[in-house]
Symmetry: C2
Subunit: 764 residues, 2 copies
């Protein structure tokens, strides 16, 4: 059967299934899971029916504790019920999870795994939240990609109904929840085929009902509790087989075949990595690259982490393995080892005791931590781990991806190792939060993903330190499925949508030799060179970049789009990259313009069409000189007079080199000095408010309302004005109690983001 190919992110992929196979959805928003709840809420508001033709009841509770309580209650009334959460939200569900599992309720919780707040909060990904629930009795099922998020959402639902064990289906927050991929969409028929209506009926019949009264949730005493607790054993013993059965049925339907543990790599591998989550696909990509080159390596993807089936695990491993590295995306300080590592050590030990381990030699097991709080996990690190495993005494309890100069846990790797396929277009776009770059890129992915045979992937990095700031879009397009769940470090297309970034960010660091460099520049092809910092000039020359400029802001203004340059830059991208023949691409862009802006009126559509046409006319290649000629260079991230900590740590983070800071740069308890933001001058405002002393009524609203505290007012003695520069504005203070004083409102141009809030609130 032909299924639609769509591009969407992991949250939507999951919500799509969860919504259509449930009747009650209790939600409470927490990043990065919120879009799942938002989608469900919107679909219900639109009256979309589930596969049984009823519209699910979506209810937002007052906290995740409430959401899990609502789920519990709803399940006990026999409704198919789900929820979405992450991180601390999941922690608040723990008490109910023990009860939901203890009572063998069929349900699936969908979790976009997120770091728990410890020394600091983080909205990014690791498995610390999921691991905190591993004692609850929930089954834990990990999906590693957007496609799997959709597939496993359905497999989990099928398995929970048959096994009666509740499931927690999780995927990596942001990396999968917000990564856009082209996937094959499951149909209602698929869902109906996977969900057995007899099991749904059985679920309903277990409901508490005055018609068939039973008691649940009683209190038990020492005489009986233990026995009753063991009475659920058969359900947990049967669960792995039931999940495999659901996976097998799913494979028949869709052709996508999954196992409790999926091994990929050399059949005679001597080194195997065991892990779960999106990093396993990065490991797969690396394994495929290395095995093609003759290395005996492999990766074992753990799909069903709980109930953990020792037998299935052992069977999935090649008999030749001599060293196993177990990677955990969690740190449990004080534990003898991280959770998955401990399970693997035990599985091997038990297999040996039981005589089911057919290994040629007993494998050595080491454990490592990676990817905490979405720390990048790359093929280079995977290679580093395989290299470590060849040593006589490989490090145990290692870390990878950081430099630990304190307790020396980190292992080395060659950051230049790369498995990027030449056939893949890897494009990076530097934009401002407000300039439409990200949404234009999402459109580009849809165009390429849905209109061509290409696979497409988009991932968007927002600088969360200050609003309205840098966005970096990472787009991959290629003929094969994309397993690279890591940032692009070698781009063959780099677009910089803001000229001012050149002085502040090393935008060309990721450009590979021969790449295309597209710059939105107020300077034309003949003058731009002299306005580039020395470092940028050097990179363009050394890497032999093909360099193009366009004055997108000028065009946008001319066609009436104000500062919205997204259509223009998108047109340039399609024009320069040859993923789609130019004419076809232009047609598709215009189609999308109609779709996107159609309801806002003909005029908007017309302006955007004009922007497309003008972009093509005004895109110019720059003839690159063979000499660095610039008299200035990139600005240091903080001024020289900044305090030591700011220069050592903050400045590196500002410059985008925070990843290279070693462990010793940080206090062990999350303590930071105060007032460091004063050294972080962003200069991102395109327009800065101007104070008019004559009309100002001195109400102070602008000062109060600036979200960045970038406006200050002062009342002061006129004496102080004697050394003021002639451009310094001031006026008489109007408040009665400040008679004879002067008044000034001053904007800090370097801190202002140009958001316009102050102007909006000003009554004058």
């Amino acid at each position: 059967m032909e299924r639609p190919k769509i591009t969407l992110d992991g949250n939507e992929a999951t919500a799509y299934v969860a919504y259509h196979v449930n009747e009650v959805i209790a939600i409470y928003p927490i990043t990065p899971s919120s879009p799942m709840g938002e989608h469900a809420d919107q679909w219900a508001a639109e009256g979309r029916p589930n596969i049984w033709g009823t519209v699910p009841h979506v209810v937002e509770m007052q906290s995740e504790g409430g959401a899990s309580g609502a789920v519990h209650g709803s399940l006990q009334r026999g409704a198919l019920t789900t929820t979405f959460t992450a991180s601390q939200g999941l922690l608040l569900m723990i008490p109910n999870m023990y009860k939901i599992a203890g009572e063998l309720n069929s349900t699936v919780f969908h979790v976009s795994a997120r770091t728990l707040a410890t020394h600091a909060l983080s909205i990014f990904c690791d498995h610390s939240d999921v691991m905190a629930t591993r004692g609850t009795g929930f089954a834990l099922l990990a999906s590693n990609s957007v496609q799997e998020a959709m597939d496993f959402a359905l497999i989990a639902q099928a398995a929970t109904l048959e096994s009666r064990v509740p499931f927690l289906h999780f995927f990596d927050g942001f990396r999968i929840s917000h990564e856009i991929q082209k996937v094959e969409q499951l149909t209602f028929d698929d869902m109906r085929a996977m969900i057995d209506d007899d099991l749904v009926r059985a679920h309903r019949e277990r409901a508490l009902s005055p018609d068939r009264p039973v008691i649940r949730g009683t209190a038990q005493n020492p005489d009986t509790f233990f026995q009753a607790r063991e009475a659920a054993n058969p359900y947990y013993l049967a669960c792995p087989q039931i999940v495999q059965k659901a996976m097998d049925k799913f494979a028949e339907l869709t052709g996508r075949r999954y196992h409790l543990f999926d091994y990929i790599g050399a059949p005679d591998a001597d080194r195997v990595i065991v892990m779960m989550g999106s990093g396993a696909e990065t490991a797969q990509e690396t394994v495929e690259y290395l095995t093609e080159r003759g290395e005996k390596v492999g990766v074992l993807k753990v799909r069903l982490y709980r109930p953990f089936s020792v037998e299935h695990f052992i069977q999935a491993l090649p008999k030749t393995v001599r060293a196993i590295a177990v990677l955990d995306r969690v740190k449990e300080p004080g534990a003898a080892g991280e959770p998955l590592y401990l399970d693997v050590v035990d599985a091997l030990e038990e297999a040996t005791s039981k005589g089911i381990a057919q290994f040629e030699t007993a494998p050595l097991v080491i454990g490592g931590r990676y990817g905490l709080s979405s720390k990048e996990f790359t093929p280079a690190m995977v290679k580093g781990i395989f290299d470590e495993m060849t040593k006589d005494n490989p490090k145990n309890h290692f870390t990878v991806g950081i430099k630990d100069d304190v307790t020396h846990t980190s292992i080395d790797y060659d950051p230049n190792f790369s498995t990027e396929e030449p056939s893949v277009t890897r494009a990076i776009f530097y934009g401002l939060g407000s300039d439409g770059t990200v949404s234009a890129n999402k459109n580009s992915i849809k165009i390429i993903g849905e209109e061509t045979e290409n696979y497409a992937q988009g991932y968007f990095v927002y600088d969360s330190r200050k609003a309205g700031s840098l966005t970096v879009s990472h787009l991959r397009f290629g003929p094969k499925p994309i397993y690279s769940h890591y940032l692009i470090s070698r781009a063959n297309f780099v677009a910089c949508h803001q000229f001012s970034f050149l002085e502040r960010y090393d935008v060309l660091r990721v450009a590979e030799p021969g790449a295309i460099f597209l710059l939105n520049s107020p300077y034309g092809p003949d003058e731009v060179w002299d306005h580039l910092p020395r470092t940028v000039q050097r990179q363009i020359i050394d890497k032999k970049l093909r360099f193009y400029v366009i004055d997108a802001y000028k065009i946008a203004k001319e066609v009436g789009l104000g500062v919205r340059i997204n259509t223009i830059m998108q047109t340039c991208f399609f024009s320069l990259s040859d993923i789609i023949p130019k004419d076809e691409a232009i047609k598709e862009i215009k189609n999308f313009i109609k779709k996107t802006y159609g309801k806002r009126g003909e005029e908007i559509v017309r302006m955007n069409f004009a922007a497309v046409d003008r972009a093509l006319e005004n895109l110019h290649e720059v003839k690159v000189p063979d000499q660095v000629t610039s008299t200035f260079d990139m600005r240091p991230p903080v001024p020289d007079e900044a305090p030591d900590f700011v220069k050592r740590v903050t400045a590196e983070m500002i410059a985008g080199r925070g990843d290279e800071l070693p462990v010793s740069a940080f206090s062990p308890d999350g303590t930071f000095p105060t007032g460091t933001t004063q050294w972080e001058k962003r200069n991102i405002a395109l327009e800065i408010p101007e104070w008019d002393p004559d009309t100002c009524i001195q109400c102070g609203r602008c000062v109060m309302s600036c979200p960045h505290a970038a406006i200050r007012s002062k009342v002061y003695s006129p004496d102080l004005l004697k050394d003021a520069p002639p451009t310094f504005k001031s006026t008489d203070a109007r408040w009665r109690q400040f008679k004879g004083m002067r008044f000034t409102i001053q904007v800090s141009p370097e801190d202002c983001t140009g958001c316009g809030v102050c102007a909006h609130v000003c009554p004058a």
Copy 2:
């Protein structure tokens, strides 16, 4: 230095230390930890100072979530802060615990470990709550006895201040929290010696303060979070040594020497049990018994479970060990193994890899579950585990203490195996919740514990199924420390304070041959025999019991004490047992009467003195016939017409044989049939309310207020009275709308507990 010997329970022992070494105590009550908070609250209300001379600030929050938040905030202001909790309460603290640990705050949470609610709620003990926090970064320190609860509360406080790792100090709920033991009381000097004031100052200096501003609790991004998270490693690595240092210092002060892992048993043991909690002392008692008889067995007590020191663990094990059984008091369904088991498997594996394991042969490790929800854990079970370990293929993931006829996890043991010392007085008292038996026994323990060289232990079993019901007191007295944290199964003294129990409970099952049997009987020594059920007669004859009777209710009434028989029965106990010379015992009882009742006035004291004297005069030995002569026997727990489930399951629980119900007796999800209490007729009311149709105004208050729904009112047609027995009371219905109808209020004597609430609310 001579320290006071006191008798108290684990909650008070812990609270005593926690209160005196803290400044802020945030509480929220949850069984069985509530008394810790109540003690602290009371002491603060009384103005008791801590060791620095200030009165701790005790604040009750709105939930355990709030309590942990208050602790976090208070710590960040530099105050020494603690809290007490258990079970679901601890789960609600998890989010804050991650943060408290992440920020390396010095604090100790004291936890009376309690079962988490799953298929059913349980207020009893296991380690599921503590284990649910093992990923938080808290250190976990287990104390196994009342003495250790006091000692480790102090050791934990010393260690947290030095290590900066927060501690969770736990002990078994009810078994230790409510067990009364004679212990050596730590002094303020001990506390001052253990708590380093420089470390307290350092704790204060880490406080958030406007005078030395720093930021904590920031948000971190992928670039830096991972490194910062690893920056705490040195603190966790140092923690075990710091705990050992505190233990060593403590040993110097008190002579009680503890280690991170304490091994007890044969130096050349081939079988070792690894465990923590009160059960470890039961294992110790069994190990000592078995090694005296030549068995090569041992027990390793895990004190510091987190951070888990592989090195210390391995060093503590005898090199000769061939089999290790790891006992977990928790069940995590779906896990490859329970938590401590997984750690031990890993420790052995890592020790082998590192070459620090000096074992003669690699030991086999098996894991088992015991004691869920305070299921008894006895020397017989310990012996059963050691026996299992001698087998060729000992069971892994076994259960002990139950009969698992579903998934066959349980191992066998001989329930008759006992290690009870002949030198120990083992006394069991059956009383009613309201008859003062428990408090009299607590006094007896104090008398014996504090006035003699004997060690003393008291444990009290309340039937929590219905209020005002059976209490069973288990008291041990002996010349050596008492490690028996399990119920007495072979008593040499059995007292039954309620004659009616004989027909319902098998009170003499626990009597060992030759034991004393004291019965509160309305029948004198000459007539009592004929009023005993056949089973009781048979037991008295077969076990050659020394049988005494006293009519305690008669005496109590005569001396003016109403139904309070506690002083009388206590006097008989001291008179019959020869723990203390009779005269001395009487003196002490009278001293206690003065202490206890002194403030209620001379008259009460005088009446109790009279009760003592009269008790001695009216205690009679019964000449036991050599034939069973009775014409009746014990009543079946439920009538024959009860439904199958009630006869099969409920009846066994009512009869006190719930422990023998196999796993198959229970539904796997906690479901029970409704309405089973109607079959549980307790007959425990000594007095039953009598309805007076003439004065009754028919207001219905008695019906509404009865806590056991044991009164019902009915309005009905007079026709229905024609077949009523002549004693059936009725009157005209007084309500206007029931003109011509009759009205009856009927008490169900078998369900009434005699609480008197109905009489209290009756306006007539």
